[in-house]
Amino acid sequence: MKKYFYHIAFVLALGTLTVACDDHLDKLNTNPNGPETIDDAPLFTKAAHSLLEYTANTSSFKFGGQYSHSIMCGGTARTADGYTDGFDGDYNGMASNLMDNVIRQTTDALAITAEGDGKNELRHALISVVEVMAFAKLTDMYGDIPYFEGGHGKEGNVTPKYDSQADIYDDMVARLASSIDIIQGGNPANAYPNSDPFFENDMDKWARLANSFRLRLALRMRNADPAKAQAVIAACLTKPFIETIDQNATFDRFETVNPWFDLTYRWPELKVSTKFLDQLQNTADPRLPALVAPDTNGGYRGITNGISDTDFAESDFGSASNLGDKVIESGSKLYFMTAAEVWFLRAEVALLVNEDAAMANTYFQNGLQASFDQWDVDGSAFLAGPHGSLAGSPEAMTEQIDTQIWVALAPDYLESWFSIRRTGYPVIEQRTGDMQLGVTNGVLPSRFLYSTLELSTNKTNVEAAIANQGANKIDTQLWWDKQ
């Protein structure tokens, strides 16, 4: 009998161990390095913070800055100025940055605040505004993108369908509209006290930003869908805008220095573009010393975009004008959206929609004043001079306004490029002769490529988008990009 006892004991012991080890193994595989659930505040903060930082991204200095003929880069960053398209890593990275650092968090935060314990209408609205502002940049860079299904990898959608830019714009303006209604008059205690990188939890400023951003989108839609744009503009006009520089959406929580400082002095070394410098010099613009630093001879000298390698080598790049101290030195900021731009947008609306040139002129001057205030310069002489008021045909006045948008947006160069693509001003001539013609035969690029990573991981959907939108080339024009 004794031997049976041992056998049975052994088998029982085995069985007991097997059960006991289940609990032990569960415990072992519980990740101690981070929580499985979280409040939406740090997610919102990450998204908002990242969106603000994005204005100094590669998309801005390497592409937007050179495409908008605002700056010239040294080093290999100059290759983008040549209108070529061998930037697969950048094309992937520029989209990935916004998806990873903004959309991933807003998607989670929207779900948390939509229902259950975390339900919070006001927070939901703020998150929506941040998300729309990020998606707007994405679609204006690439065209069709996965908007409705984008960012939902966690729920299992790893091959999101692309949406047409028209559908994206329709939804973006609608989401902004409903968000503005909630944010206006919202109780800040229910929003994000101590964790709002934009406005320190000021709901009035949030409503102004959301409405101003909606106006920007409405104007981009204007040629592609005039009726819709008209309706959105009308709705915008019933809500407050960013009007003073203290309402500007800015950012200055830098780790060390303003990123534009390092981009200018360390790498890739930025110089002011001749076109940008000419605009300021030819109009005796008081912002010149703020936006442009003197060259090594004490004067001002820009570098011309698109010049050949040989001309570039002979340009004595190192001694040309850097970005101005007020743009890059201590105390400087990044600008996400400013009163100046919004006044100019409103001037354009007054001129083209309301056909009220006087109102347009007032708004135009408000915009100039807001920009002068922003850079802390005295603009009274300029305002009194020939460039301080709108004049001439509506088209001439439009050119004045849109050129000032271009100047006022600096250094948010990605938006400068978008603005030039929308308005056609300032005119970027097709390059000829020994200029760098790139893959566009010298025509200003109008989008970024879908990257090879996207083409290989989401092939069916991205191919459908290409079929809808046009070839995956940098000179394919987007839906709203119609003059």
Partner: protein, 1012 residues
């Protein structure tokens, strides 16, 4: 599980059926030299009654009646038959079986087996092959010697890793490296922590059939290292082994020697600061012809414009490595001890790259009582490597810098001018991905200190003649302390402000197991059963600190940096395992083995965490069964094996957790999910494999042939697949895919000549592996396994695993390149450009012995397989590559037809623009895919043993001297000036990419071994 219990019960009942005996026979079994033999089987003829000899060769056996006949059998010895008429002690001397002597091999779970009995392919490399011509990384010593094993060395300084693949890549994105097992304990990580001087033998267990007992981690095969125990019985033995080796450049890229700095055949314009333009392309090597003319060099000084020598040969030094080992060993009746200390000092070819390594090893065996014996080892390794080189696309990669330097730049100028008066780096071009290599040497440094403590204790208790219980526990603690700094002054590092890293981590692996074995002999049938269990615990933790914005120069402490971020992390993993092993052999010619194992892993979801697998191996010595053995046909064996192996994954892959942002200067908290998506429904991976093979010997064993055909299919692979970035994430962990590997291995070894003084042996092996991606996840059309620029190594259903994809030229339907009006070729579609898998590979060995001299040589070869060289691409558009010299004066005309006219292209273009457009702008990679076919002189050793007569009265027993060389030269290299073994990654598909590698090196040296 139920079946397992049943088998357990059956086997327990069998153990208690021992008979009662009346007479006790005792005796001792020794070999011809009088040394006792442990574990000799003693069986009473015609019964199942038997026992084994103990540590001193003694046995006792109770028998029913006298007289009787006893059989004494022992692996490697001829079986003896002794008649016992009375119970006086029996002295048995077993004769070595010459035919069998080399056939004892160490198999899974450290069980010594007769090779004949194995149903799977197993190769053994003996200690001599690794202790002479030592490699810092022991696995490199196996290159070309073992069929089925593909070793690709990388170029990575003194502590470079190698890519090791057994029978092809089976795991798409996971680890494909075979498991390293030392004295029965799996060892984490690097093969370079094995001290060659401590190695007794290395067994390479290739298929799952051989390695199933190791569980999931054995799925890629197992490399089993057995370390030496003391061989001394009666005195203290001392031996000293010294080795000195030199490393120098074997192969560098070919450079053009005609054109220096500049662009479009012109010098760079001079800037207002008096220095030439240092921007691209004028900082490239596309300037005028160098004819000794006067020009302004990069420093702004007047100089003569002449070609400089090969920068690699001038910059890199001859590396030196000295390895000294002292061994003390001894033992008595009850215990043995062997202690070694090895000191290794290596200076690499990079002027500041060195390694210091101390290895202490103590192995002891002890017989505590008649029934209880102990085996233990403690190893401590302290390894410090300074300045491991940066590889590939990195401003610290000196090889990249040197290979792109215009051909007139003098290294002496770079060396004498590393920084300006303000402490800023001086270099010949201002791109921030570049450094002056001498600035790098002086200002970018790293140190990696590894502390490794390994130990095991194994107790074996002979419960009864039939039962043995072994319990053992082994721990491996690996601590790493890594520091790195880059001084301020170079825009490459934190915008010129300097940076510092201090990372520490610790990995602990603890294995405890038991094995209860039972032996039974029934007439001509020997049976063995074992039941065992293992608990594996692995812990990892790390603390990484990063600082930037240096406050004071030359102080490398975290407090000296203005912005600091830290992050810490830990993980744990546990696996419980149960296993059953069974062996049977009948008549010394038929063998059957089976292993059943069940793992329960913490890393899988509860419902899927327990998984069962098995292996069954059979072997038949048909020559013996059929009585065919003679002097022409010595022996013949057929064997076969079937196995499945399961596999788990890494910890914490089931649920997402959030990470907080580690920036400390922000007033608010930020958090996000990681880039990789987990999966709560993971299932274990499964590999099913089978193999058949034969081992034949002819002419008194002078010719042996071994061949194996194998197939393995890995399903349900757990892998992070790259997903669309528009999903919000980078990867998702899924179960997917089915990869089939099939192939054959063939080894032929022969003694061509043999007489008293002279012998000549010749051997060859060949491996042909074919991998096939049978399926992927339904959502995946392809899977990117590796990427360099736009070139990828991919898995695509229906294709071999490891196709190289990239952009081709734009072509018409006839394959002609379409050239635009400006004369440039254009980017076409992405397509398959190559395949990293060789068609076949192997090695040829030859060994001569004449009296006390021996010479052996090993040639390794690979046929087929391709790799992508971005290093060549870079050198092409920087104008330093020999191939870039073409068309400098008259321009080049691209082959192809004009895309608009259809006529042959006649438009001439500047070769700089040609290469820049094709290689950089358009990433056309067709011409950068090179054939990896090569035949390499892998190893040559000339050894001399001083005749013993010379040593009489010196107190020295033995003196061996050898001279050796490794990786000496190519007999043939299809890639010309690029070594196919110069990848920067030892990852699964690392051999597919070359990027500005350090020069390939050869090593040669001398060994001296003294035994006292």
């Amino acid at each position: 599980m139920r079946q397992t219990y049943l088998i357990l019960l059956v086997f327990f009942f069998m153990g208690f059926t021992t008979l009662v005996a009346q007479e006790t026979l005792t005796g001792t079994v020794t070999d011809a030299d009088g040394l006792p033999l442990l574990g000799v089987n003693v069986v009473e003829k015609g019964t199942s009654n038997g026992n084994v000899t103990d540590f001193d060769g003694r046995f006792s056996l109770k028998v029913d009646q006298l007289p009787t006949t006893l059989f004494f059998s022992y692996v490697g010895f001829k079986t003896a038959e002794i008649n016992a008429t009375n119970n006086s002690p029996i002295q048995v001397v077993l004769e070595e079986d010459a035919q069998m002597i080399d056939e004892v091999v160490v198999t899974a779970l450290n069980i010594e087996r007769d090779k004949t009995s194995l149903g799977y392919s197993l190769d053994v490399v003996d200690s001599e092959q690794v202790t002479v011509a030592k490699e810092n990384n022991i696995v490199n010593s196996l290159s070309g010697k073992v069929s089925g094993l593909q070793i690709t060395q990388t170029t990575g300084g003194v502590n470079k890793e190698s890519r090791v693949i057994l029978r092809g890549i089976s795991s798409l994105t996971g680890n494909n490296t075979p498991l390293l097992v030392v004295d029965g304990f799996p060892m984490n990580g690097s093969f370079s922590d094995i001290n060659p001087d401590d190695v007794e033998s290395i067994s390479v267990l290739k298929g799952a059939g051989a390695s199933a007992a190791y569980g999931s981690r054995g799925a890629n095969g197992v490399i089993l290292v057995t370390t030496k125990k003391s061989a001394q019985k009666d005195k203290i033995g001392i031996s000293i082994a010294s080795s000195i080796g030199f490393e120098d450049i074997m192969l560098t890229p070919d450079f053009q020697n005609e054109f220096g700095t500049g662009a479009f055949s012109e010098f760079a314009p001079i800037n207002s600061d008096g220095r030439p333009v240092l921007d691209y392309p004028f900082s490239w090597s596309w300037g005028p012809k160098m004819e000794g003319q006067t020009y302004t060099n990069w420093l702004g000084n007047e100089d003569t414009f002449t070609v400089q020598g090969n920068p690699f040969e001038e910059f890199y030094r001859t590396g030196v490595s000295a390895i000294n080992t002292v061994t003390l060993e001894g033992g008595g009746d009850k215990s043995t001890m062997r202690f070694t200390y090895t000191d290794q000092r290596t200076k690499g070819i990079i002027p500041n790259n060195d390694l210091k390594k101390h290895t202490f090893n103590l192995r002891s065996t002890s017989k505590l009582t008649d029934k209880l014996s102990m085996d233990s080892r403690v190893t401590y390794i302290l390894n410090t490597v300074r300045n491991s080189p940066a590889l590939a696309e990195n401003g610290d990669n000196t090889a990249l810098m040197l290979s792109l330097m215009p051909r007139d730049i003098k290294l002496s100028d770079l060396k004498a001018n590393t920084e300006d008066a303000n402490g800023n780096e001086l270099k010949w071009l201002n791109d921030n991905t570049f450094n002056n290599p001498y600035w790098t040497l002086a200002h970018v440094n790293n140190q990696n200190k590894l502390d490794r403590l390994q130990g095991f204790l194994s107790l074996t208790y002979d419960i009864s003649p039939a039962f043995t219980l072994t319990g053992k526990s082994g721990i491996d603690i690996l601590g790493q302390d890594y520091t790195y700094h880059a001084d301020s002054g170079s825009s490459v590092y934190s915008n010129g402000r300097g940076e510092y890293r201090h990372n520490t981590n610790e990995t602990i692996e603890w294995n405890s197991d038991f094995l209860l074995s039972y032996k039974k002999t029934l007439d001509r049938l020997n049976l063995g059963f074992s039941v065992g269990g293992n608990y594996l615990m692995r812990k990892y933790n790390r603390l990484n600190t990063y600082g930037k914005n240096e406050k004071a120069p030359d102080l490398y402490r975290i407090s000296n940096y203005g912005v600091v971020t830290t992050d810490d992390w830990e993980s744990k993993k546990g696996i419980y395992s149960w296993y059953l092993l069974g062996q049977a052999d009948y008549g010394g010619y038929a063998y059957l083995d089976a292993t059943f194992r069940n793992d329960i892993s913490s890393t899988l979801p509860k419902e899927n965490r327990s998984y069962f697998y098995y292996s069954v191996n059979g072997s038949l010595l048909f020559s013996k069964l059929l009585g065919l053995e003679g002097s022409t046909f010595s022996s013949g064996k057929i064997r076969g094996s079937v196995a499945t192996v399961g596999n788990d994954t890494d910890p914490y892959q089931l649920l997402t957790t959030y990470n907080f942002d580690n920036r400390t200067y922000l007033p608010y908290a930020m958090a996000s999910s990681p880039n990789g998506l987990p999966n709560s429904d993971l299932k274990p991976e499964n590999t099913e494999s089978w193999e058949v093979g034969t081992d034949l010997a002819f002419f008194d064993n002078r010719l042996s042939i071994g061949g194996t055909y194998y197939e393995s299919v890995t399903d349900n692979q757990i892998m992070p697949v790259t997903i669309s970035r528009f999903s919000g994430y980078h990867t998702k962990r899924i179960n997917a895919g089915s990869i089939k590997n099939s192939g054959f291995e063939l080894a032929v070894n022969g003694t061509v000549l043999q007489n008293e003084d002279f012998s000549w042996e010749l051997g060859a092996n060949i491996t042909k592996n074919k991998s096939l991606v049978q399926s992927l996840h339904p959502d995946l059309e392809n899977l990117v396994l590796g990427k360099l620029r736009t070139v990828t190594v991919e898995a695509r259903p229906g294709s071999p695993l490891g196709e190289i994809w990239g952009f081709d030229y734009l072509r018409d339907n006839f394959g002609r390149r379409l050239i635009n009006d400006q004369g440039f070729a254009q980017k076409g579609e992405r397509k398959k450009l190559g395949d990293i898998n060789p068609d076949f590979y192997g090695g040829i060995t030859t060994a001569f012995k004449y009296k006390n001299w021996s010479l052996r040589a090993l040639v390794s070869y690979q046929q087929g397989g391709e790799f992508y060289t971005w290093g060549r691409g870079y050198r092409l558009f920087f104008g330093t590559d020999a191939q870039s010299a073409v068309g400098r004066v008259d321009g080049v005309i691209e082959d192809g037809i004009n895309e608009n006219t259809g006529f042959e292209n006649t438009q001439s273009i500047n070769p700089m623009l040609q290469h820049f457009t094709n290689v950089f702008t358009n990433d056309i990679s067709t011409d950068l895919i090179l054939d990896a076919t090569n035949v390499k002189m892998r190893e040559m050793v000339l050894a001399y043993e001083v005749p013993r007569s010379f040593l009489a009265n010196t107190g020295i027993d033995r003196v061996t001297l050898s001279a050796w060389g490794r990786n000496l030269f190519f007999f043939y290299n299809a890639a010309g000036d690029i070594d196919p073994e110069s990848s920067y990654s030892s990852g699964s598909v690392g051999n597919g990419f070359e990027h500005s590698s350090l020069p390939s090196t050869r090593t040669f040296g001398m060994d001296l071994k003294l035994d006292f």
